[in-house]
C-alpha cells in the first residue's frame, strides 16, 4: 500500500470569498503571507481555527478556507482561549488590530499572554481606526490628529511589544506588510512556538493613515532604519551590512563596524530563547529617535508552561489517582444514605 503524504499549497487555504479590503491596504499582503505560512507548516485546513474580533483586519477569517469565527469587538483572545482549551489539537489563530486588541480587548490580550495559551496572535497595527473611518488608536503617537482628536491626542500610545513582554509574553515578533518573505517566516515561527505568540505586523492604511510606517518601510532607507533579528546570529544591519548593535553600559547602541574601535566581535548575538526578557525588551523598544533601528523578526521565543496543555495534564494527573469517570459513580461516593 502506498501512502502519499498530502502537501498543501497556499491556494488550499484561500476561501471563495471576494476580499473586500481597500485596494492598496496592507492587509492583503499579510493574508497572502498567512496562506504561504500555512502551506509551509502543512496544517490540514480542517484542523485550523481562525478567530477574529472586529475591525478591518478581523474580516480575515472569511478569506480562509479553514474553520473561522468572526466574533465581537475585543473578545477574540478570550474566544480563541476557549477554542484552544477545548481542543488543543487545533491550530488556533487570532487575527486582531490595534484597536480590537489593545483598546477594547486589552484585558483579554494581556491575560491570554499571561496564561500562555497556545494561540497565534497576529496583530495588524496601522495605528488608526479604519472601519469607523479614522479615529486615533491606542498606538497613535501623542499629538496625532484624527477625526476624534482634531487638536491632536493628549495621551501616550502603547508599544505592543512592551505590553506583551510586560504581560510576561514568551513570543514576540515584528514584521512589516511590504516584506512578504520575512512576514511569512515570522508567522511560521510563531506557529511553531508553543504558547501564546504575538506577531505585530506594521500595516499601512491607505485611506486614513497612509504612510504611517513609511519612515521604516520605504525601500530607500529600510535597511538602515530596521534590523531583522535572527536567533543565534549577530545583530547586523544597514545597506552595507556594516552596522551592528552593541551593549554600551546598560544601553544598546548602534555602531559601524570598523569605526570608533568597534569590531564584529563587539556586536551582540541574538538569543531569542533566553528566559530573561531584559534584552528582548530593550531590543523591542529600539527606535529611530534613539539612533537605533526598529527591531523586526522574532525578538523573543522562550519556552514556558503552556496553559491548554497544563489544563489537560491536571485532568490526567487527577484521573491517574481517581478512577471515577461517571457522575453516578461520583455521587455514590458522597454522603449517601439508602431508603429501602
Amino acid at each position: 500500500m502506498e501512502i502519499q503524504e498530502i502537501k498543501y499549497q497556499a491556494k488550499d487555504y484561500k476561501s471563495d470569498q471576494y476580499v473586500r479590503w481597500c485596494p492598496g491596504c496592507g492587509d492583503h499582503a499579510v493574508l497572502n503571507c498567512l496562506h504561504k505560512a500555512m502551506a509551509e507548516l502543512n496544517i490540514n485546513p480542517k484542523d485550523m481555527a481562525v478567530i477574529s474580533g472586529i475591525g478591518c483586519s478581523s474580516r480575515l477569517p472569511y478569506y480562509m478556507n479553514t474553520y473561522g469565527f468572526h466574533t465581537i469587538h475585543g473578545r477574540g483572545a478570550a474566544i480563541a482561549t476557549g477554542v484552544k482549551t477545548a481542543n488543543s489539537d487545533l491550530s488556533v489563530w487570532l487575527i486582531t488590530g490595534d484597536g480590537d486588541c489593545l483598546a477594547i480587548g486589552g484585558n483579554h490580550f494581556i491575560h491570554a499572554v499571561r496564561r500562555n495559551v497556545d494561540i497565534n496572535i497576529v496583530l495588524f497595527n496601522n495605528r488608526i481606526y479604519g472601519l469607523t473611518k479614522g479615529q486615533y488608536s491606542p498606538t497613535s503617537e501623542r499629538g496625532f490628529v484624527s477625526k476624534s482628536s482634531p487638536y491632536g491626542t493628549v495621551e501616550d500610545p502603547f508599544i505592543p511589544a512592551e505590553l506583551a513582554l510586560g504581560a510576561r509574553g514568551n513570543f514576540f515578533a515584528r514584521a512589516i506588510d511590504v516584506d512578504l518573505k520575512n512576514t511569512t517566516s515570522v508567522l511560521t515561527d510563531s506557529a511553531r512556538h508553543k504558547g501564546t505568540s504575538v506577531v505585530e505586523v506594521l500595516v499601512n492604511c491607505v485611506i486614513f493613515n497612509d504612510g504611517i510606517h513609511k519612515n521604516i518601510t520605504d525601500k530607500d532607507f529600510r535597511a538602515d532604519r530596521t534590523i531583522f533579528l535572527r536567533h543565534g546570529e549577530k545583530m547586523i544591519f544597514g545597506k552595507e551590512e556594516n552596522k551592528g548593535i552593541v551593549l554600551d553600559g546598560l544601553k544598546l547602541k548602534a555602531v559601524t563596524i570598523g569605526e570608533d574601535g568597534y569590531t564584529l566581535d563587539d556586536v551582540l548575538i541574538h538569543d531569542a530563547h533566553t528566559k530573561d526578557n531584559t534584552l528582548h525588551m530593550m531590543l523591542a523598544m529600539m527606535n529611530n529617535e534613539n539612533g537605533l533601528p526598529i527591531a523586526l523578526g522574532v525578538i523573543r521565543d522562550a519556552e514556558a508552561p503552556v496553559y491548554d496543555q497544563c489544563v489537560e495534564q491536571q485532568i490526567k494527573d487527577v484521573q491517574s489517582k481517581n478512577p471515577t469517570r461517571k457522575l453516578h459513580d461520583f455521587l455514590m461516593k458522597g454522603e449517601v444514605w439508602e431508603v429501602k
Binding site: S15, Q17, N44, P45, K46, D47, M48, A49, I51, I54, P61, Y62, M64, N65, T66, Y67, G68, F69, H70, T71, I72, R75, A78, I79, A80, T81, G82, V83, K84, T85, A86, N87, D89, L90, N107, H108, H111, V311, Q314, I315, V318, Q319, N322, P323, T324, R325, K326, L327, H328, F330, L331, M332, G334, E335, V336, W337, E338, V339, K340
Partner: protein
C-alpha cells in the same frame, strides 16, 4: 430523670441556627439537616448569611443564620417561622425575634449574653427577652462556652480553638431535642476534619457533651419527634441548588457524548458552580476562571465552537456584562448554557439575598431581535433537571439557553434521590455529517422541521466554514445586508425558538381542577406557592397552582390553562415582570398580581392571606 421529658410528635418543625458569622452556624445547620434527611425526614434549608466576610463580632450586621424545615410529609419551603432558635449571642436573638413562633424554644449561650454582648447588639437593658417582648418562650440557657472549655481541657487546644467547638455543643443539644442519634454526626465530622483528627475529636467531644447535657439535665422543655417518611427507595444525598446545577450539566454532557467546559468568573451567589466543576477533574471537566465575566462567556463560546458542551455561570451584574456575547451566540447559533443565579439588584444590590428580578434581562437584555431559550429551576433539587434540560435544548436546538435560578434555591438544600440516568431523555446533537439535503452543505443549512442548523466542529473534514456576528445569507451563509434576507433570518431565528415548544413538556396544574383561584408562579418560588395553595385548601378553598419552568418558549398549553380559571394571581419576587410577559403573549389576559421585592423568600402565611382577599373580593 430523662424519661420524664415530654415527647411531642409533630408533622413538621422549623429550626433556626443563628450566631456570629464566625460561629460556624452554616456547618451546624448543614450537619443537622443531613442527619435529619438520613433519619428519614423531608428537609428544606435556607442559609441566610451576611454579605460581610466577618462583620464586627457580636453586632447585628454580623449575624449568620441557617434555617431548616423538617417534616414527616412533603416539605416545600424552609418555613416562615421558627419553632426552635439557637441564638449564640444577643445579636442573633434580636435579628430573629420576628420569625419566632409563640412558645418557641430558644437555646442561648449564657456566656455570650453578658453586659458587653448586650451592648454590642444595642440592647438597653440587662434583660433582652423582656426588652424584645418575648414572654411566651421556653428558654434553654446554658453556659455553653464554659462547658465546652471545661470539656476540652485535656485536648491541649488553645482557648480560641476550644471555643470554636461551641457550635457542636449546641448541635448536640438540638440532636437531643430531636432524638437524633449522634453516630451519623460523628461520621460527618470525621469526614469534614479528616485531615485534622485532633480537631475532629474535639468537635465530637463537644457534640457529645451537648447531647449529654440535654439528656442529663432534661432541660426544661419537651423533645420533638418527627416521624420518618417512607421515601421512594433509592440512594439519597443532601444537595443544594448550585451543586445540583453543576451535576445537571455534567449529566447532560454524559448523555450528549460531549466534553463539559465551564468559563466563569467568581460572583455571589453563583461561585459555588465554578467551585464544584473545578473540583471534578476526574470526570474530565474543564472549568476555567477567566479574567472577567465577558471572558467567562467568551471562552465558553469558543469551547462551544470547538465542539464542547459549554456553559458559563453568573449572577445579574455578570449577565449584564455578558449580553453582547450572548447576542453573538444567538447570531452564530451555537449551543451555550448561561446560568444566572439571581440576586437582589439593581447594580451590586444585595449580593447575598434572593430575587427574581432578572427575567426581563434574560428575555430581552440584548441588542437586536435576539430570541433565546429561558428555563427557570423551581427547587434546589430541580436545578438538576433544569440544568439538564437547558443543556439538552442548547445542544439539540443550537441556541444559547439562560437558566435562571436564584440565591434562595442555589444555597437551599434538600434530600435528593440520585437519579437513574437511563430514565432521562437522550441528547442528540445534529451534526453536519448527518446533513442529507440536495444543495451543498453550508453553515446555516437547517433541519426543515426544527429549523436547527447543522453543527460542524473544527476537525471535521469537508465542513470548514466561517460564522460570526454579521448577518448571513439564508442560502449561501455568506455575509449579507440584503433587506429581504435580514427579515427572513430574523423570523427564522424567532421561529426556531418558538418551535422548541414542540419539544418541551406541557404546563402541569397542581391542586383543584375546579379551583376558584389559579396561582401562577415561576422558578424558585415553587415551594412557597405550593404551600400557599395547600394553605388555601386547608381553609376549605379551591385553589390550583400553575408553576412555570419553561419561560421562553412557553409551554404550548399556556394560554388554554391560564384562560380556564376565573381568577388568576401571578406571584413573583419582582415588580411584575412575568405578569407583563404573559399579558404580552396572551391577548386579553388580566391577572391579579402579588409582588414582593425584599430579598427574602415569600412568607406562606402572608401569601394565604393575600390570596384569600383576592378570592373574596
Amino acid at each position: 430523670m430523662a424519661e420524664q421529658t415530654k415527647i411531642t410528635t409533630l408533622d413538621k418543625v422549623v429550626v433556626r441556627f443563628s450566631g456570629d458569622s464566625g460561629d460556624g452556624m452554616q456547618l451546624t445547620g448543614t450537619i443537622f439537616s443531613t442527619l435529619s434527611a438520613i433519619f428519614g425526614n423531608e428537609i428544606s434549608t435556607f442559609p441566610d448569611y451576611p454579605a460581610e466576610i466577618r462583620a464586627p463580632q457580636g453586632t447585628l450586621s454580623g449575624v449568620s443564620g441557617f434555617q431548616v424545615h423538617l417534616g414527616s410529609k412533603k416539605i416545600f419551603t424552609p418555613g416562615d417561622k421558627a419553632d426552635v432558635l439557637v441564638a449564640m449571642n444577643p445579636a442573633a436573638l434580636k435579628v430573629n425575634v420576628s420569625i419566632l413562633k409563640p412558645n418557641s424554644i430558644i437555646i442561648i449561650d449564657t456566656d455570650s449574653f453578658q453586659k458587653n454582648d448586650l451592648a454590642k447588639a444595642q440592647f438597653e437593658t440587662d434583660n433582652p427577652f423582656t426588652e424584645l417582648g418575648l414572654t411566651s418562650i421556653q428558654l434553654v440557657a446554658v453556659p455553653i462556652s464554659t462547658l465546652v472549655k471545661e470539656g476540652l481541657k485535656d485536648f491541649g487546644l488553645d482557648n480560641k480553638s476550644a471555643t470554636r467547638c461551641k457550635n457542636m455543643f449546641a448541635l448536640g443539644l438540638v440532636c437531643w431535642l430531636f432524638e437524633r442519634p449522634l453516630e451519623e454526626a460523628m461520621h460527618l465530622l470525621q469526614n469534614k476534619f479528616s485531615k485534622k483528627p485532633s480537631i475532629a475529636q474535639a468537635n465530637i467531644k463537644a457534640l457529645t457533651d451537648g447531647y449529654n447535657y440535654g439528656h442529663n439535665t432534661h432541660a426544661t422543655v419537651s423533645t420533638y419527634r418527627i416521624e420518618s417518611k417512607k421515601a421512594k427507595p433509592g440512594f439519597y444525598i443532601d444537595v443544594n441548588g448550585n451543586a445540583a446545577t453543576s451535576y445537571g450539566l455534567i449529566a447532560a454532557a454524559e448523555k450528549a457524548g460531549l466534553k463539559l467546559f465551564l468559563g466563569s468568573y467568581p460572583i455571589t451567589p453563583a461561585t459555588d458552580i465554578l467551585h464544584e466543576l473545578s473540583k471534578r477533574k476526574e470526570l474530565g471537566i474543564k472549568a476555567i476562571q477567566a479574567e472577567d465575566e465577558i471572558a467567562g462567556i467568551c471562552t465558553a463560546i469558543g469551547a462551544s465552537f470547538a465542539g464542547n458542551l459549554a456553559a458559563t455561570s453568573t449572577s445579574g451584574p455578570g449577565l449584564a456584562l455578558k449580553s453582547e456575547a450572548i447576542g453573538l451566540a444567538v447570531m452564530a447559533e451555537l449551543p451555550l448554557v448561561i446560568v444566572d443565579v439571581q440576586r437582589g439588584g439593581p447594580s451590586t444590590g444585595m449580593p447575598t439575598k434572593s430575587e427574581q428580578t432578572d427575567l426581563m434581562q434574560a428575555l430581552y437584555g440584548r441588542n437586536g431581535e435576539s430570541p433565546l431559550v429561558v428555563v427557570a429551576a423551581t427547587t434546589p433539587t430541580d436545578c438538576f433537571d433544569a440544568a439538564f434540560w437547558a443543556a439538552k435544548l442548547a445542544v439539540e436546538h443550537m441556541t444559547p439557553v439562560i437558566l435562571l435560578t436564584d440565591g434562595f434555591i442555589a444555597n437551599g438544600s434538600a434530600a435528593w434521590r440520585i437519579p437513574d440516568m437511563e430514565k432521562y431523555p437522550e441528547i442528540k446533537p445534529l451534526y453536519a455529517n448527518e446533513y442529507k439535503g440536495e444543495a451543498d452543505w453550508k453553515a446555516y443549512r437547517r433541519d426543515e422541521k426544527s429549523l436547527v442548523r447543522y453543527w460542524a466542529i473544527p476537525g471535521m473534514k469537508g465542513f470548514e466554514h466561517r460564522i460570526g456576528g454579521l448577518e448571513k445569507d439564508y442560502t449561501t451563509s455568506a455575509i449579507s445586508t440584503h433587506p429581504e434576507n435580514h427579515q427572513k433570518m430574523v423570523e427564522t431565528r424567532q421561529a426556531k425558538i418558538d418551535r422548541i415548544a414542540n419539544y418541551i413538556p406541557e404546563l402541569e396544574i397542581a391542586g383543584d381542577k375546579d379551583a376558584d383561584l389559579l396561582i401562577v408562579g415561576w422558578g424558585g418560588t415553587y415551594g412557597h406557592l405550593h404551600e400557599a395553595m395547600e394553605g388555601l385548601q386547608e381553609k376549605g378553598k379551591k385553589a390550583a397552582l400553575a408553576h412555570f419552568k419553561f419561560i421562553s418558549p412557553l409551554p404550548k398549553n399556556t394560554e388554554e390553562v391560564l384562560k380556564k380559571y376565573r381568577k388568576v394571581v401571578i406571584a413573583e419576587q419582582n415588580s411584575g415582570q412575568f405578569a407583563n410577559y404573559l399579558r404580552g403573549k396572551i391577548p386579553g389576559f388580566t391577572p391579579h398580581q402579588f409582588n414582593r421585592v425584599k430579598g427574602q423568600p415569600f412568607n406562606v402565611a402572608r401569601l394565604v392571606e393575600e390570596f384569600t382577599k383576592i378570592m373574596e373580593a
